[in-house]
């Protein structure tokens, strides 16, 4: 291409006399804002397409008649715009007057009062007295449009932010405008509530108090709230958020707009799940033998059990499951306690519902933002909408708005099905086989079928990486199907993996070494042995067991003490009967938890721990991004942070960690963990969007906050995208304030290589399904029987009993009607469940939700077999 043909990359525009360089086509309102000129607006939202509805942003542009709205006006070369002339002010005042004529005088009782742009603009520029003497428009106040959201139509200014969000961003077009003229109102369809997993976002972005969320309604006034930036750890996406409290009670979590992570959005489980922190069911006092005890008594009792098991049977008689729900620092402390002090490698942060740590830690990783410009996205995971909701939004956007091909290896319909461009139709357990076919076609072999050929063609025509979203496709299968898919696809040069493990800080826990065969910082037990022995004193001699092995060993009497750190195997392990056998047999259970669960009910020692927002530190999301979580309220009762419990136990076991603060752990972590080498606590604290592991490879991407850790709340509060303050480009160390000194020296003296998975997989054979059986795919649901939903009053009602989906052909063959209850029987057991005939599911396959409360699907699953086949009978 010659220089003449190249598109011009910038244009020069003049706004209020100021000459500004901008990208052609960028919206005037944005260009002005980026250059410090704020044009008032209500309907425009940076993350959604402009609609030009409210007309608050009217400006004058030389050569254009009248008053074009700045939010729909793309800038062009030599454009001259005026935002502050008398006529512009008059036009904007006119719009404001009209917005107010039918607006109720609710400010004193309105939740938005104090952070309302309509109120603020009126106070600043509005008319003193209303010229409207008629009666205002009336609607019933407020009406529930879903279980979580209420709508006051009198306060609505018809900006369509909520309806656009529902349609454009969430893909749930369940609210819309009805009626006309000054009776135009937002409404859901009759009998069809706005039951979107993302409904809380509309409450946040509604400029006025028209939409309110039940959990926050009437709880506080914005000026009384204390705010701190944090990450949501309800799932492994770690959306950025701002948690707000009043009188030591969390009252609201707002989405913070982090471009690489969540683009401002939260899911409802993450947004409203904070309620569980204040649940009355919290265990707030240590217990020994079921009785309340003091901390010294509990710690001593636990240490006595640990010591006696270790002395009698060796460290291997002790196992730990869990550690995925706290911070990186807690995970590190527990890794050091179990592996360095107790001397056991029977440690697993996953509950048999994930993927082998080797695959997660040792494959080429992608970042969330790589989805936006991927050559293709390959889905080899569970239902992202149910498991990692905000990641679902990002994938949906990539497929729908950015034209990225979406290749699907799923065996059952899921939230992204309607956006899939190439459905490869894998049967349950056969994702590995289909992935091999896809990989060999991409590698140049003749495609196995036309669908694979089409997928290969569309991938081949695009630049960029192929991002494989890799998670556990089904809890009714062993992880070997996913592992073999990863092995096949991982051999291709352009493939990068985005982990879809869902549990909270599971990635941080794996990076901290809470997996058999691993030590902190992505090194294997063997390669890190010397380094960690010198730092910790000792490490286990041999590779230990993962959760399935631990439970089996418990059941066989080989493990004497089982430590559950925020883990509930009876609820979460896919094979309930194995979990039950293990817990019934094991001698001693030591529980570190915030709640009593069926798994820890008979714990010998119960040590209450703090929860999210009660603890500070760092967490690591599914792309390996380390971000901060913040403490906002004080610890409930006598609860202690997980890391402190580990450190107290270590001391009583005769090994003083000498770690007194979270920062000290972060420092030690960065000093000893190879993947963390290169970053200091100051780097992590001041990195606006966190730092991706391994740090040494990603320090160049870091953007530092300008003024420390404040949120950008210049224009108003929650209705506009909330940005963590920061520059858009990486800055030099000298530009950052002193506390943010970057330590770029990498701890190279040990020359540790980070673990790389060799992609060797054991050969596997999938049994034939007999013609009468259905092969079942079991996936998680967002509102399941887990703790967060169960202990959050606003969410608990949203839990639905799982249903089983089959094809209508199978329903007909079985002689059952959609909606009928049936008995499903596997080699393990049987359950009664409601059956539904559904589209998009292949004959021979059934799809069943996992209830996560120890009932349902987990009674059918046998962890030792690779797929689960069931027979279905009617109850009639």
């Amino acid at each position: 291409m010659t220089a003449v043909n190249e598109a011009k990359t910038t244009v020069t525009v003049t706004i209020d006399g100021k000459s500004i360089e901008a990208r052609p086509g960028e919206l005037l309102i944005k260009v002005a804002q980026d250059n410090g000129i704020y044009i008032p607006r209500f309907c425009w939202h940076e993350r959604m397409k402009p609609v030009g509805m409210c007309r608050m942003c009217l400006v004058e542009v030389d050569g254009i008649r009248g008053f074009p709205p700045a939010c729909t006006m793309p800038v062009s070369e030599a454009m001259v715009c005026h935002t502050d002339t008398d006529s512009v002010k008059a036009a904007q005042d006119g719009v404001l007057e009209l917005l107010l004529i039918n607006h109720p005088l609710d400010c004193p009782v309105c939740d938005r009062g104090g952070e309302c742009p309509l109120q603020d603009t009126t106070l600043a520029f509005g008319p003193v007295e209303s010229r409207f003497v008629e009666e205002k428009r009336h609607f019933e106040k407020p009406i529930a449009i879903s279980d979580l959201v209420l709508l006051d139509r009198e306060r609505c200014i018809q900006c369509a932010r909520c309806t656009r969000f529902a349609d454009e961003i969430a893909g749930d077009p369940l609210i819309s405008f009805v009626d006309r003229g000054d009776h135009t109102q937002v409404l859901n369809f009759p009998d069809d509530p706005f039951s979107s997993y993302f409904s809380g976002n509309v409450v946040q972005i509604c400029p006025v108090g028209a939409l309110t969320a039940k959990p926050y309604r009437f709880k506080a006034r914005p000026w009384d709230l204390a705010t701190v930036e944090t990450s949501c750890t309800t799932c492994a996406v770690h959306c950025r958020g701002a948690v707000q409290s009043s009188s030591n009670q969390i009252v609201r979590l707002l989405g913070v707009d982090s471009e690489p992570v969540n683009q401002g959005w939260l899911c409802d489980k993450g947004r409203f799940g904070y309620e569980h922190v204040h649940s009355a069911a919290r265990v707030l006092t240590p217990r020994v033998g079921g009785r309340e005890a003091s901390w010294p008594q509990a710690l001593d009792a636990a240490v006595a059990e640990l010591k006696s098991a270790k002395n009698l049977h060796g460290g291997g008689a002790i196992a730990m499951i869990g550690g995925a729900s706290g911070t990186n620092e807690s995970a590190y402390a527990w890794a050091r306690l179990t592996k360095g002090v107790i001397g056991t490698d029977n440690v697993d942060a996953q509950l048999g519902d994930g993927i082998a740590a080797e695959v997660v830690l040792g494959s080429d990783r992608a970042q969330i933002s790589d989805l936006d410009n991927a050559a293709a996205i390959v889905l080899c995971a569970g239902d992202l909408k149910e498991e990692l909701p905000v990641l679902f939004l990002r994938v949906k956007r990539a497929a729908l708005e950015l034209g990225v091909p979406l290749v699907d290896l799923s065996a059952a319909p899921h939230g992204l099905s309607k956006y899939v461009t190439h459905a490869l139709g894998a049967a349950p357990g056969e994702q590995g086989l289909v992935a091999e076919q896809l990989a060999s076609a991409i590698g140049g072999a003749t495609p196995a079928n036309e669908t694979i050929a089409a997928a290969t063609r569309s991938i081949g025509s695009r630049e960029g990486n192929i991002v494989v979203i890799l998670g556990r496709t089904s809890l009714a299968e062993r992880d070997d199907t996913v592992v073999s898919a990863a092995a096949a696809l991982g051999a291709l040069p352009r493939v990068r993996f985005l982990s879809a493990l869902r549990r909270s800080n599971v990635h941080g826990a794996l990076e901290a070494g809470l997996a058999p065969g691993f030590l902190p910082g992505r090194v294997s037990l063997d390669s890190g042995r010397v380094h960690f022995t010198s730092n910790w004193g000792s490490v286990p001699a041999e590779r230990g067991l993962g959760t399935e092995g631990i439970l089996r060993a418990c059941a066989e009497g080989k493990i004497h003490v089982l430590v559950l750190v925020g883990a509930d195997p009876l609820a979460d392990f896919p094979d309930r009967s194995l979990a039950k056998q293990a817990l019934d047999t094991v001698g001693v259970v030591i529980a570190i938890d915030a709640f009593e669960t069926p798994s820890n009910r008979r714990a010998k020692v119960f040590m209450p721990c703090t929860l999210w927002a009660e603890q500070g530190g760092t967490v690591t999301n599914l792309e390996g991004r380390v971000q901060r979580v913040s403490r906002k309220v004080s610890a409930s009762g006598l609860a202690l942070d997980d890391w402190r419990i580990a450190s107290e136990l270590a001391q009583r076991m005769g090994s003083d960690f000498d770690l007194e603060t979270v920062d000290e752990i972060t420092e030690e972590f960065s000093r000893v963990a190879p993947a963390w080498a290169g970053a200091s606590t100051a780097t992590i604290r001041n990195a606006r969007d966190g730092v991706v592991l391994p740090f040494a490879d990603h320090l160049g991407e870091v953007v530092f906050r300008r003024g420390g850790s404040s949120l950008d709340i210049e224009y108003s509060l929650s209705w506009e995208p909330i940005r963590a303050d920061g520059d858009d480009v990486a800055v030099e160390a000298s530009d950052v304030d002193e506390t943010a000194e970057i330590d770029r020296t990498i701890a190279t003296e040990d020359a540790l290589t980070l673990f790389v998975w060799d992609r060797v997989v054991a050969p596997r054979s999938i049994p034939q399904r007999d013609a009468y059986a259905l092969r079942v795919n079991v996936g998680r649901k967002l509102y399941d029987g887990g703790r967060i939903v169960a202990e959050s009053p606003s969410l608990v009602g949203l839990k639905k009993a799982p249903t089983m989906l089959v094809s209508s052909a199978d329903a007909a063959r079985l002689g059952v009607l959609s909606g009928e209850s049936v008995k499903a029987t596997s080699s393990r057991g049987s359950i009664t469940v409601e059956l539904k005939a559904a589209r998009g599911i292949a004959p021979g396959t059934a799809s069943l939700g996992f209830s996560a409360d120890g009932t349902g699907a987990s009674e059918l699953i046998d962890a030792s077999v690779s797929v689960t086949d069931i027979r279905v009978e009617t109850l009639r």
């Binding site: 402009p50 609609v51 030009g52 509805m53 409210c54 007309r55 608050m56 009217l58 008649r65 009248g66 008053f67 729909t72 006529s87 008059a90 036009a91 006119g94 719009v95 007057e97 009209l98 917005l99 004529i101 039918n102 010229r131 409207f132 003497v133 008629e134 009666e135 200014i157 018809q158 819309s176 405008f177 009626d179 006309r180 003229g181 000054d182 009776h183 135009t184």
Partner: protein, 449 residues
């Protein structure tokens, strides 16, 4: 201007000839016997789309839907090589007093279908939608029937007359919203969405139905095409005056002796139209004022300057600040209360405002409320000032025409035309209407509406 004045005052029936002259012209046999589809057959035989464009360009035809946009220029703006592209015929005709398209739709639907065929061929379009106003029950049946008969007789469908050209025509009935006559709202409605205007750009010609290039034309515009091809563009352009070439079907109603549709050659005066063509006012009462171009633009009154104004799109705008709009003329005699008329028009716009943009959604309702009390004995002395000043929120230069707008589409400013007309011509009536109100009295107790 005397030279443009026609010696004989009569209609020039081109588009409307068949519906007047042929009994039951809506029936295929009758229309066909009168020559329907003959031009279409010729066009297919010649197969020269470029010539069609040239003829239409030469004819000077401007859209008859109200915006007067030159049809050939619209066609020429179609992005080359983007397919599929669509043709949409706007038969939503919902403006008060406008009923000219309805006559064609109900009485001569084959004229419309033939025009659609020719237009689709000229623009390289294989799928056309005819969007009809929801209330046109008879019209819908007739157009559906006409399309069916045209298909049965090989004028529409696959490989028409062996020409290799195919055209599918879909007839769609609206759901009763005036705003769906605005072309982008119409397209939204056609796509199954709530009828609300889109933000422009992009214009429909670049991104219309299903985000594809879309030509939107009015029923009368399309029906005229056949005649332009038949006569030749240059010949057609000889009719009319200035850039207003040809004829315009005007719907004339109100206090008039002979209401109905009249096909007027551009260049007549309003005096000729009202007093000669339509026979003057009912019961020979005295004219008070008239709406020269539908309900959305400023009014004219009983004075020589206004009555001697020629029917010419550009001339009337330049001289009197109003326009010929939707092609309707409404005539009012001396018994009429102009404030009441203004209120009734405002009530229509307040009711039909789609609610998308603030100034129209809230402003039309407020205008209506003020005019209501003014026209119902409750006007306050400050009301006209209030009306003018709050109208500026919707249409900043209230009295100026063509109006400027703070709104998305021109619906919002439409009732402001009535307010401006009151201010310009009826201050005495307004002052009388503004003297009755007692501030203490509730103002929105309605006696009737």
């Amino acid at each position: 201007m005397t030279d443009t004045k026609k010696i004989e005052v009569r209609e020039t029936r081109i588009v409307t000839r068949r519906l007047h002259d042929v009994v039951d012209a809506w029936k295929y046999e009758n229309a066909r016997a009168d020559g329907a589809y003959q031009i279409w057959a010729d066009v297919l035989r010649k197969g020269d789309a470029a010539d069609l464009l040239a003829q239409v360009k030469a004819s000077g035809l401007r859209g008859r839907g109200g915006a007067n946009f030159p049809t050939a220029i619209k066609w020429e703006s179609l992005p080359a090589d983007v397919f599929p592209r669509y043709l949409v015929i706007n038969g939503d005709e919902g403006e008060p007093s406008t009923f000219k398209d309805r006559e064609i739709i109900e009485k001569d639907p084959h004229a419309l279908v033939e025009g659609v065929c020719i237009e689709a061929f000229a623009c390289g379009i294989n799928k056309a939608f005819i969007y009809l106003r929801g209330e046109f029950a008879l019209g819908y049946d007739r157009v559906v029937n006409a399309v069916k008969e045209a298909s049965a007789n090989g004028w529409v469908g696959e490989n028409i007359q062996g020409s290799g050209f195919s055209l599918d025509i879909v007839v769609h009935r609206g759901a009763g919203a005036y705003i769906c006559g605005e072309e982008s709202a119409l397209i939204e409605s056609l796509e199954g969405k709530r009828g609300m205007p889109r933000i422009k750009p992009p214009l429909p010609i670049h991104s219309g139905v299903y985000a594809k290039p879309t030509v939107v034309n009015n029923v009368e515009t399309a029906s005229t095409l056949t005649h332009i091809i038949k006569m030749g563009g240059a010949e057609y352009a000889k009719l009319g005056v200035g850039r207003s070439t040809g004829t315009r079907v005007a719907a004339i109603s109100g206090h008039i002796k002979n209401p109905g549709i009249y096909e007027i050659e551009f260049g007549m005066t309003f005096r000729e139209i009202i007093f000669e063509l339509c026979g003057g006012l009912r019961d020979d009462k005295e004219l008070k004022f008239f709406l020269p171009g539908g309900a959305s633009f400023q009014w004219l009154v009983n004075c020589d300057e206004h009555l001697d104004q020629v029917y010419d799109i550009d001339d009337i705008t330049a001289k009197l600040g109003t326009t010929l709009g939707s092609g309707a003329i409404m005539v009012y005699d001396q018994s009429t209360d102009p404030v009441l008329v203004a209120w009734r028009l405002a009530k229509f716009y307040a009711h039909e405002s789609c609610g998308k943009c603030t100034p129209c959604r809230e402003g039309t309702g407020w205008i209506e409320k003020i005019l209501y009390r003014m026209s119902h004995g409750q006007g306050r002395p400050t009301d006209m000032e209030l009306l003018l000043s709050m109208s500026a929120n919707v249409s900043p230069d209230v009295l100026r025409a063509p109006f400027t707008q703070t709104t998305i589409c021109p619906l919002g400013p439409s009732p402001v035309s009535a307010v401006a007309s009151l201010e310009k011509y009826f201050r005495a009536e307004v002052d009388a209407a503004c003297s009755g109100g007692r501030p203490g009295i509730a103002v929105n107790v309605r006696v009737n509406s």
